[in-house]
């Protein structure tokens, strides 16, 4: 019954128009992006920086494993299942349950010095390279 609908997505055309009027010259996608997963992995010379968007993660179930060159992030999203029987769903786009993602980096890592931070739903991991993998400048002796 339409009269019982408590929420409706704005018509996508209108939404797009509103967006165009508010911010001219912008790019945007009309489809919900499951904003979950790897954002970037960057080589900072002496270390790699890996960032992943993981909103609503249960920090106690988050684990980060480094083996050789391979980084594995696994964990579980908070379950948001509402209690009660008379619950009516309109949208269910967010991820739930367990996840695991692996990434193989270009060099060996100093596994002792890996640091991770979880803030505003973004996980940032600093992975220093193993000493042997950091490039060294070699001075040339001129005779």
């Amino acid at each position: 019954m339409f009269a019982l609908q408590f929420v409706n997505e704005m018509d996508s055309m209108q939404r797009e128009m509103n967006r165009l009027f508010r911010h001219t010259g912008l790019k945007g996608s009309n489809h919900p992006s499951p904003a979950v997963g790897l954002l970037r992995a960057e080589d900072k010379g002496a270390a790699f920086v890996v960032e992943a968007a993981l909103p609503g993660l249960d920090p106690e179930q988050l684990s980060i494993d480094v083996l050789g060159r391979k980084l594995t992030i696994s964990g579980r999203f908070h379950d948001n299942q509402p209690a009660g029987e008379d619950v009516r769903w309109y949208r269910k786009e967010r991820r739930s349950g367990a996840f695991e993602q692996s990434l193989t980096l270009a060099t060996e890592l100093d596994t002792e010095k890996v640091e991770a931070e979880y803030k505003h739903g973004i996980l940032r991991i600093d992975l220093p390279k193993a000493a042997a993998a950091v490039p060294k400048k070699i001075a040339v002796n001129v005779a």
């Binding site: 408590f6 409706n8 939404r15 992006s33 904003a35 967010r94 505003h120």
Partner: protein, 124 residues
């Protein structure tokens, strides 16, 4: 200045404008459900701080807008999504919380929209 040079200058100036607004808008994933008393909206907004989140209800339209504070060398981006709410939602009494990149918005139903139990008398 030749036509070609003028064209190039024009293009360069356009490029500068584009570079000044590198904002990319994404549509956040949401969960929306209704219970007997309220409508609950959960939205994934990783990287968004409380100060950068704007929630607005105007003429029954809920607008969710947030910018992500990006590092200097990163592309700036934001989230934007709108929903039409029923008149039977009491948006003024809504409550919002942002935790670990997830927005939880609770919008109570107006009194008239809540289910009422009607006692049935048995007549003998």
């Amino acid at each position: 200045m030749s036509d070609k040079e003028m064209m190039k200058q024009e293009l360069d100036s356009v490029e500068k404008i584009n570079q000044a607004k590198p904002l990319h808008w994404a549509t956040p994933a949401v969960d929306i459900y209704e219970t007997a008393d309220e409508l609950v909206v959960l939205a994934d907004l990783p990287g968004v701080q409380e100060s950068a989140l704007q929630l607005e209800v105007s003429r029954g339209v809920l607008t969710l807008e947030a910018a992500v504070e990006a590092a200097e060398d990163q592309r700036q981006y934001g989230y934007y999504r709108q929903f039409q709410l029923s008149e039977r939602i009491d948006a003024d009494a809504g409550e919002a919380a942002l935790k670990d990149g997830v927005l939880t918005l609770r919008l109570p139903k107006s009194a008239a929209a809540k289910p009422k139990r009607i006692a049935v008398k048995t007549l003998h």
